[in-house]
C-alpha cells in the first residue's frame, strides 16, 4: 500500500495540456525549420495528405489486434494488402504484418536462420549500420551466436568477395547485406554474395530501404531468402525516430515460413464459403499459443504504420515508386556534385553508384566534422549530415549526408554555400 499520494503534477485542463506541450515543443527546431540532411535509418520524405488522413481514421487507430476477425476486417485486409505489397517490392512470397524496426528485424532474422539450419555464425558487412549491428548482438547473444564482419573494398565500399569467401563456412547460418548500404552506396555484387552464401548452405538475408525498390532489383530476384528493412520512409513521419516499421519477408517452403516471427494475416473464406475474408494465420508459431516454444515473443507490432505504407504505396503505384527512386538519385547526385566542388571536400568517399545517402569527407579542410557542422548550424541555420568518424575511424572526418525528394535545388545550393563559407573561415 502506498501511504502517500503520487508525486505527479496536478491535473490540467485540455487547454492547459495543449499550451504546455506546445510551449515545450516550441523549444525544438524541426526539419521544417532548417534544411536538414540527416538519414542513417530514419528518412525525411513527402507524405501525401491522403496517407495521414487514412491512418487518422479512429476505427483504425483505436482498435486492438484483430482477435475478433469478423468485426476487424478493415484492419486485417489493410495489413494483408501491406504484406502483399512488400512481397511485390521484395519479390518474396510472404511478409509479416510488421516488426518494430529494421534493427530488431535483423535480430529476428538471424534467430530465424538459426532455427532453420542450426548454425551459429552470421557474416555481416564491416560497414553495417552500427545501431543495427548492436541490436543484432543483443538479440543473438543468448544463442551464443557470433557475428563476423566482412571487409570492404576501400575504393568502392563494396564487400570484398575474397574476404567474404574466407569467412563463410558450414558454420555460417546466414550472410547479411544492406542495400543501399549504411553509407549510401549500392552493393552490386549481389549474385556473387548469394552464391557464396548458398554454396555453404547459409541463408542470404538482404536489408533494404524500400524507397529504392523502384530502381533497384528486388532481393528475391538476386537470391535473397529473407528480406528485412525499414518501412518508415513509406508514408510514416520521422517522430524523432519512433515508431519505425520493420519489414520482414521470406521465400520458400511452408517449413521455412513456419519459422517466421511476427503476425501474418491470411486470406480465407467464411465457414459457409460464400465470401472472402481475412484473419490471422499460422498463429501456432506465436507466443499466445506456443508460449516458450514460440518463434518470437513479438505481438504488438507497428500495424498502423504498415497501413500508412499500404496507403502510400497504393497512391504511388509502380511508376510512382520508380519516379521516386529516380528523383532521389538525381537530387543526391546533384548534391554530391555540388559539395565535391568545394575545396578540400570529397563527396562521396566511395566511387560506386549511391542512392539517397553519401559520405562527405573533410580531411583535407583541416577541420573536424563537429566544428564544421556546429558552424553550419549556428551561422547558416542548416543541419548537416550525421557524423560517422567515430563509428568508422578509418574514414577520417566523414559525415553521412542524405538527400531525398524533399530537398530542393535551393536547399542543396544553400548547403553548398554554407559549407564553403564555414570552411573559408579561420575558426
Amino acid at each position: 500500500m502506498l501511504k502517500r499520494k503520487l508525486n505527479l503534477p496536478k491535473a490540467m485542463s485540455e487547454q492547459e495540456v495543449k499550451q504546455h506541450i506546445e510551449a515545450l515543443l516550441s523549444k525544438n527546431r524541426s526539419t521544417r525549420d532548417m534544411p536538414t540532411f540527416l538519414g542513417a535509418g530514419c528518412w525525411p520524405h513527402y507524405i501525401p495528405a491522403a496517407v495521414d488522413n487514412i491512418v487518422q481514421r479512429s476505427e483504425f487507430i483505436t482498435s486492438y489486434t484483430p482477435y475478433q476477425p469478423e468485426i476487424s476486417q478493415g484492419m486485417l485486409q489493410s495489413l494483408f494488402e501491406y504484406q502483399s505489397m512488400i512481397c511485390e517490392l521484395a519479390d518474396m512470397d510472404v511478409a509479416n504484418s510488421s516488426m518494430y524496426d529494421w534493427a530488431s528485424a535483423l535480430g529476428e532474422a538471424a534467430r530465424m536462420a538459426v532455427r532453420i539450419n542450426n548454425r551459429n555464425e552470421i557474416v555481416v558487412p564491416k560497414l553495417i549500420h552500427p545501431e543495427r549491428h548492436a541490436t543484432l548482438e543483443t538479440y543473438i547473444e543468448p544463442l551464443k551466436m557470433r557475428v563476423k564482419k566482412a571487409d570492404y573494398n576501400h575504393e568502392t565500399g563494396l564487400i570484398n568477395l575474397e574476404k567474404l569467401k574466407e569467412l563463410v563456412s558450414d558454420k555460417t547460418a546466414a550472410v547479411y547485406i544492406e542495400n543501399p548500404s549504411y553509407l549510401g552506396f549500392i552493393e552490386s555484387q549481389v549474385k556473387e554474395i548469394a552464391e557464396i552464401a548458398h554454396d555453404k548452405g547459409a541463408l542470404f538475408i538482404a536489408g533494404v530501404d524500400p524507397t529504392s525498390l523502384g530502381v533497384l532489383k528486388a532481393p528475391g530476384e538476386y537470391g535473397a531468402d529473407i528480406v528485412i528493412g525499414e518501412g518508415q520512409p513509406l508514408g510514416n513521419h520521422m517522430n524523432y525516430g519512433g515508431p519505425l516499421l520493420g519489414l520482414f519477408a521470406c521465400k520458400g517452403e511452408t517449413e521455412v515460413i513456419r519459422q517466421m516471427p511476427g503476425r501474418i494475416i491470411g486470406m480465407t473464406t467464411t465457414l459457409k464459403g460464400d465470401k472472402t475474408g481475412f484473419c490471422m494465420a499460422l498463429q501456432t508459431r506465436e507466443q499466445h499459443i506456443r508460449r516458450e516454444r514460440a518463434t518470437s515473443n513479438i505481438c504488438t507490432n507497428e500495424a498502423l504504420c504498415a497501413v500508412a505504407s499500404a496507403a502510400y504505396l497504393g497512391l504511388l503505384g509502380p511508376e510512382g515508386l520508380k519516379e521516386l527512386g529516380e528523383t532521389i538519385m538525381m537530387r543526391a547526385k546533384y548534391a554530391m556534385h555540388k559539395l565535391s566542388l568545394i575545396q578540400g571536400v570529397e563527396a562521396p568517399v566511395f566511387n560506386s553508384p549511391h542512392f539517397k545517402e553519401f559520405t562527405v569527407n573533410f580531411d583535407k579542410t583541416g577541420k573536424t566534422v563537429r566544428s564544421i557542422h556546429q558552424a553550419l548550424l549556428k551561422k547558416h541555420g542548416i543541419h548537416g549530415g550525421k557524423e560517422v568518424s567515430k563509428e568508422f575511424p578509418e574514414l577520417g572526418q566523414t559525415a553521412l549526408y542524405c538527400v531525398t525528394e524533399v530537398h530542393s535545388k535551393g536547399d542543396v545550393d544553400k548547403l553548398a554555400l554554407g559549407l564553403s563559407d564555414v570552411l573559408r573561415r579561420k575558426r
Binding site: 535509418g41 513527402y46 482477435y67 518494430y100
Partner: protein, 517 residues
C-alpha cells in the same frame, strides 16, 4: 435500447484488383532543370546486376480510389471509439483526442533522431520528465523508454536478468526462469529468447501463486520469476512480499509484467512490493491508441542494482550546462534493443495523458477500473451458464474471468460462440480462452472509461445470449450474422494447401487450381 447492430458490409475487393493501368494517386515535384541536366539518366549508370528491370506489381489507383478503399475498410473495423472493448489484459480505455493532435505537431513529428541536441531540447525534456513520472508510478529507480511494446520490454527485462547474473559471475548457475501457469504467453516466450529454461509453477486453488509449489521449483538455478500483479484472473497476489523473499533468497530477480498496472496506480507500486524489473504498457495503462495492433510502447523500470545494464542511450540532464542530452557513456549497458530512443510519438501521447490526469486522476482511474470490473462480476454471476472459477468471494481488481463451461456442457455453446454473438449486439467480445487455467474463459476488463449505461448494455447482451444459448443454441453457434463477414474459416487460412498469405500466393494458387481442374 439498441439490440442488433449491423456493421458495414462493403465487400471491398483487394486493392490489387482495383484501379487501371496508368493511374496514379500522387505526383512528385519536378526535378529542377539544372539538376536533371547534370544528373542525366541516373538508372542507366546502375550495373545490370542490381538494376530493376521489372517494376513491382503494385496496384495503380487514383487518389480518390485509394481514399475510398481505405475508408470503406475502416468502416469494417471496430475501435474503442465505436464502443465497449472489454478485452481482458488489454486495457482498452478511451484515447484522448488531444494526445493525437499534439503528437502530430511539426515540433514532434518532423524531428530527426540524429539532430543536434541543442535543436531537440523540448522533446528530450519531455522524455526525461516522462521517465521520471514512470519511476514514480512504478516505484523503481530508473526507467528506459526504448522498448517498442510490452513484449519488447519483457525481452529487455529478461536480458537485464541475464546481464545481472553475468556481471555477478553466476550466469552459468542461474539458468531457469519461473513463470506461473496463468502467465501471459509473452512471459515464457521472452524468457526463452533471452536464453533461459522456462519452469512453470502451477497456481493454487485461488488462482494465485502457490507458495508451496513455488518453493519446490525455486533453487540455486533460479534466475528470476515473471509475475503480473494483480494476476491474469484479476486477483491480487497478497503473498507478494513472501514471493519476493523466496526469489531473492535464491539469488533471483522478480519481474513485473505491467499488463495489469492499471488496477493499482497510486495504490501500490511494483517497486515497493519487491519487484526488481517492471515493464509498463503505455498503450494500455496510459491511454494511447493501439493502432490495430501497434505501435505501442513498453518502458522498463529497474531497481538501483540494475540501472547500469540499461540500453544506450538514456536521456539525461546535465546540471552544469543546463541541458538535456543522450547519455551513451554507460559501459555496463547491454547495448541496443532497437534503433534510436523508443516510440516517441506514443510516449508524447502518454505525457499528455498523465498531464491531463494528474497523480490523483491516475489513482481515481485505478479505483473506477476496479469498481467497473466488480460491477460486471456481480451482474454476470447470476447469469445462467457462466461461473466464476477460483478465489470465490474475493473481489477482483481491474478484470474478472468467467468460465462458460456450464453453458458448454448444457447447451454445446462455447465461449467463442458467446464472443461471436456479442458482435451482433454491436459490442466487442472479451478475451477468450485465456488464462489457460480457466476452461472456456471469458476475460473481461471494462476499464474506467466506460459509462454505466454501456456496461449495462454489455451485461444485458450477455444475459440475452445466455437465454439464446439455452433456447436456440444454433443461433449462438453460428454467430455472428451482422458483422462485415460471418464466421471465418481460420483453419483454411493456416493450412499449407489452402493458405494465401499474400496476393501473389493467392494468385499462384488460383493458377494451380485452374490448371488441375
Amino acid at each position: 435500447m439498441r439490440t442488433m447492430v449491423r456493421q458495414a458490409q462493403w465487400d471491398e475487393p483487394v486493392i490489387f484488383s482495383l484501379g487501371r493501368k496508368g493511374r496514379r494517386g500522387s505526383s512528385l515535384s519536378n526535378v529542377e532543370e539544372e539538376i536533371a541536366k547534370l544528373a542525366g539518366n541516373v538508372t542507366e549508370g546502375l550495373p545490370m546486376a542490381i538494376k530493376r528491370t521489372q517494376l513491382p506489381k503494385l496496384p495503380e489507383l487514383s487518389e480518390v480510389e485509394v481514399v475510398r478503399h481505405f475508408i470503406r475498410l475502416s468502416q469494417m473495423n471496430y475501435g474503442v471509439d465505436s464502443g465497449i472493448y472489454p478485452l481482458g489484459s488489454c486495457t482498452m480505455k478511451y484515447n484522448p483526442k488531444i494526445s493525437d493532435l499534439l503528437a502530430g505537431a511539426t515540433g514532434a513529428s518532423q524531428l530527426h533522431p540524429s539532430q543536434d541536441e541543442t535543436t531537440v531540447q523540448g522533446i528530450l525534456e519531455m522524455l526525461h520528465t516522462l521517465s521520471k513520472w514512470l519511476v514514480e508510478v512504478t516505484g523503481t529507480d530508473e526507467v528506459c523508454l526504448q522498448p517498442s511494446a510490452g513484449a519488447h520490454g519483457e525481452l529487455l527485462g529478461a536480458l537485464l536478468m541475464r546481464a545481472y547474473h553475468k556481471f555477478n559471475g553466476t550466469a552459468e548457475n542461474h539458468t531457469e526462469l519461473i513463470v506461473p501457469d496463468s502467465a501471459h504467453g509473452t512471459n515464457p516466450a521472452s524468457g526463452t529468447m533471452a536464453g533461459f529454461k522456462i519452469v512453470v509453477v502451477p497456481s493454487s486453488k485461488d488462482g494465485t501463486v502457490d507458495l508451496k509449489a513455488l518453493k519446490t521449483v525455486v533453487s540455486e538455478k533460479t534466475a528470476g520469476l515473471m509475475l503480473t500483479n494483480p494476476n491474469t484472473l484479476g486477483v491480487f497476489e497478497e503473498d507478494i512480499a513472501e514471493i519476493a523473499d523466496i526469489i531473492h533468497g535464491a539469488g533471483g530477480l522478480l519481474y513485473y509484467d505491467g499488463a495489469n498496472l492499471n488496477a493499482i496506480m497510486g495504490k501500490t507500486r511494483p517497486g515497493d512490493m519487491g519487484y526488481d524489473i517492471v515493464h509498463v504498457n503505455i498503450h494500455k495503462t496510459f491511454g494511447t491508441p493501439h493502432g490495430g495492433g501497434g505501435p505501442g510502447s513498453g518502458p522498463v523500470g529497474v531497481c538501483k542494482e540494475l540501472t547500469k545494464f540499461l540500453p544506450i542511450p538514456q536521456v539525461a540532464y546535465d546540471e552544469k550546462r543546463k541541458r538535456y542530452h543522450l547519455d551513451y557513456d554507460r559501459p555496463e549497458s547491454i547495448g541496443k534493443i532497437r534503433s534510436f530512443y523508443g516510440n516517441v510519438a506514443v510516449l508524447l501521447r502518454a505525457y499528455a495523458y498523465i498531464l491531463s490526469m494528474g497523480g490523483e486522476g491516475l489513482e481515481e482511474a485505478a479505483e473506477i477500473s476496479v469498481l467497473n470490473a466488480n460491477y460486471v462480476l456481480k451482474k454476470l454471476s447470476v447469469i445462467r451458464g457462466f461461473e466464476l472459477p477460483y478465489a470465490k468471494g474475493r473481489p477482483r481488481k481491474h478484470e474478472c474471468v468467467f468460465s462458460a463451461k456450464p453453458m458448454y456442457k448444457e447447451t454445446g455453446v462455447r465461449a467463442m460462440d458467446v464472443a461471436k454473438r456479442l458482435l451482433d449486439y454491436g459490442l466487442h467480445s472479451p478475451t477468450t480462452y485465456f488464462p489457460l487455467i480457466v476452461d472456456e474463459a471469458l476475460m473481461i476488463e471494462p476499464t474506467e472509461t466506460i459509462e454505466k449505461e454501456e456496461l449495462d448494455r454489455f451485461v444485458e447482451a450477455l444475459k440475452k445470449i445466455s437465454e439464446e444459448a439455452y433456447s436456440n443454441p444454433d443461433l449462438v453457434k453460428n454467430a455472428p450474422y451482422n458483422a462485415a463477414v460471418t464466421r471465418l474459416d481460420e483453419v483454411k487460412a493456416s493450412h499449407p494447401k489452402t493458405m494465401a498469405l499474400s496476393w501473389r500466393m493467392h494468385q499462384n494458387r488460383n493458377i494451380i487450381k485452374a490448371a488441375s481442374s
